[in-house]
């Protein structure tokens, strides 16, 4: 492991974000503007290497505890890395690295790119901070860094739609983060600690008393709703379609692949680790099903590709909630495997949408058609992503969805499983509509001269498509990645013991 890896994984993107404007000025002075892009790409890849260096120790079963300033928990702030947050950190670092490569060409027509890259790095630092911290107030602070940078990125192009979407996202998102802060305040008032492991132990002791203080369910509710807004769980999802449609596709990919993943992580960490609340699994199952159905039915009628992908993102969150809601080892494995797969194919699909927008200038399905001849590689990659998200074998989506279905049957929930299977078919239906509208059929005159997307945009898409195939054909690789995370979710006492024992 690289020395000080947990803190470096946060500090590298944070410092890279603040250094980007300086690098940009220097690069302009010397006439090498691309140096700024290379700098951000380098920072993202360095962060990925740092995170990956922690993997061997964590996969051996260790919980890496990093004490900031040498202060022992619960008095000082600690970073605690177990299987769950390592998986999420790996997803974030990989997604951001690929988006940094993709952005080099995709964003080249925009101005103010030093701001874009600064915000990209700040979102990344926020995501990493939320993921790796073992302190609940730190979690809130990094969650705010991530959220506020995301609002600005959604409004980056400063046209009417993006500013409106950014403001809506900001108002609803701020309400969510206010709920989280209120819950943290109530929790501190109740037990007098902010360390997650310490809190978990103390809340467990309080839960053993009868009757349970009214404030405990209220705290959990505020957390679930706060994080539920970030993952766009129905009925807290309304901000998402506008934001994903109006944002540049690279930003939509970042939001769907990184920030949503962080939202799911935070919800799992709080509800399962902090409150040990396997009992609220039924609530997750019901909300998961509602999210799945509403997202799917809304996606079916969309005219805009990015809006369709946005509703599809909501629908896929339903599968993840359903899997973890079953509360069994296989259900949580399936949910986390789907979280990993969702990050892969959703980023791929948004990148494909970006490639189309880059070449054609619109994502309106009614204005597209016959692009399969002009953009064969993009079309193939989109089809791979579409089949993967629809759960068609042999792609990765099938492996994770099937795990969730089997977990559902084993948990005695055949109706929930049947609804999930039907919604998977519906997913295939709306993606077939998108494929038909974009790549097949008659080609409008104005699309005759459209060319394939540039290579730097195709490369990250190709990498993601390869992952869709490899994790589908060799699902045991994905399961091996996910198993330590599932073990961490279910091992509350091990986490508490490791963190508090580090004192």
């Amino acid at each position: 492991m690289i020395a000080h890896a947990p803190i470096l994984a946060i500090v590298v993107p944070l410092f890279a974000g603040f250094l980007t404007p300086v690098v940009s000025i220097v690069a302009k002075r010397f006439g090498v503007e691309r140096a700024r892009d290379w700098f951000v790409m380098g920072a993202a890849i360095l962060m990925l290497l740092i995170v990956a260096s922690m993997a061997p120790a964590v996969w051996r079963g260790e919980v890496l505890v990093y004490k900031l300033g040498g202060w022992s928990p619960p008095w000082g702030i600690v970073l605690a890395v177990d299987g769950l947050n390592l998986l999420v950190a790996l997803i974030i670092a990989s997604v951001v690295s690929l988006i940094a490569i993709y952005s080099v060409v995709y964003m080249e027509r925009d101005s103010g790119l030093e701001k874009y890259y600064t915000l990209l790095m700040l979102v990344t630092a926020g995501c990493m901070g939320v993921t790796l911290t073992g302190d609940v107030f730190n979690l809130f602070v990094f969650f705010e860094i991530m959220s506020i940078s995301s609002y600005a990125l959604v409004a980056f192009r400063r046209n009417w739609d993006s500013v409106e979407a950014g403001i809506k996202y900001m108002i609803i998102g701020s309400l969510g983060t206010s709920f989280i802060l209120l819950s943290i305040t109530l929790m501190y008032g109740l037990v007098g600690s902010l360390n997650i492991a310490d809190l978990a132990g103390k809340i467990e002791a309080i839960k053993a008393t009868q009757p349970l203080p009214m404030i405990v369910p209220l705290m959990l509710t505020l957390f679930v709703v706060g994080f539920g807004i970030k993952i766009a769980m129905v009925p807290l999802h309304a901000w998402l379609p506008d934001a994903y449609q109006a944002a540049p596709s690279a930003v939509s990919a970042l939001l769907s692949g990184a920030t949503t993943t962080v939202g799911v992580y935070a919800m799992l960490r709080v509800s399962y680790m902090l409150f040990g609340a396997l009992a609220i699994g039924t609530m997750f199952i019901i909300l998961g099903l509602v999210t799945m159905v509403v997202g799917g039915l809304m996606a079916l009628t969309q005219r805009d590709l990015k809006r369709l992908l946005a509703y599809s993102s909501i629908s896929q969150m339903g599968y993840i909630l359903l899997g973890v809601g079953f509360g069994t080892a296989m259900g949580i494995q399936g949910g986390l495997f789907h979280l990993l797969n969702n990050a892969i194919y959703k980023v791929l699909l948004f990148m494909c949408a970006g490639a189309i927008v880059y070449r054609v200038g619109t994502s309106n399905l009614d204005e597209l058609g016959g692009l399969g001849k002009n953009m064969p590689i993009t079309a193939t990659l989109f089809i791979v992503g579409a089949l993967a998200i629809s759960g068609v074998p042999p792609f990765n989506g099938f492996a994770s969805k099937w795990t969730i279905y089997v977990a559902g049957m084993e948990a005695g929930q055949p109706i929930c499983t049947a609804i999930a299977v039907v919604m998977s078919a519906l997913t295939l239906a709306y993606f077939l509509k998108a494929i038909n509208s974009m790549f097949l059929g008659q080609q409008p005159e104005h699309l005759r001269e459209v060319r394939e997307a540039p290579l730097p945009m195709l490369f990250p898409m190709l990498v993601l498509a390869v992952f869709c195939v490899v994790l589908g054909i060799l699902p045991s690789l994905g399961m091996d990645l996910v198993r330590p995370a599932q073990g961490a979710v279910m091992n509350q006492l091990g986490y508490i013991g490791s963190v508090m024992g580090a004192g």
């Binding site: 009925p235 807290l236 509403v294 009628t301 969309q302 005219r303 204005e367 492996a399």
Partner: protein, 112 residues
């Protein structure tokens, strides 16, 4: 190989079988092209509607109506839920409050 209770899924074997099927289908397609080689004239490729030539731009299936039978099957959803996705911020905030109340009731029932 992934094993689940009494069932299992062999992704490599399944992929090989699917690729074999795709190969056979492709060979059949190639073979059929030998005998039915379509060579339409440019006039035959034109599309007419009500006696007028329809341009390729105008021949797009409406994306919103693409699955109109499914829309009919889920009529209550599209009648009552879809219009609520109106883009009006105050409605969305009301949803958040409704969500808060629903989750609070669910959590209280679960943890009681």
């Amino acid at each position: 190989m992934m094993e689940f209770g009494p069932g299992f899924w062999g992704p490599i074997v399944a992929t090989a079988v699917m690729l074999f099927g795709v190969g056979i289908a492709y060979l059949l397609l190639l073979a059929s092209r030998k005998y039915i080689a379509p060579k339409p004239s440019s006039e035959k490729l034109k599309t007419y509607g009500c006696g007028e030539e329809v341009k390729s731009e105008e021949m797009h299936v409406d994306s919103e109506q693409f699955y109109s039978p499914i829309r009919r099957a889920f009529k209550p959803f599209y009648k009552y839920v879809q219009p609520e996705h109106s883009g009006v911020l105050s409605t969305y905030l009301l949803w958040v409050i409704a969500g808060l109340i629903i989750v609070l009731i669910a959590v209280m029932l679960a943890l009681r």
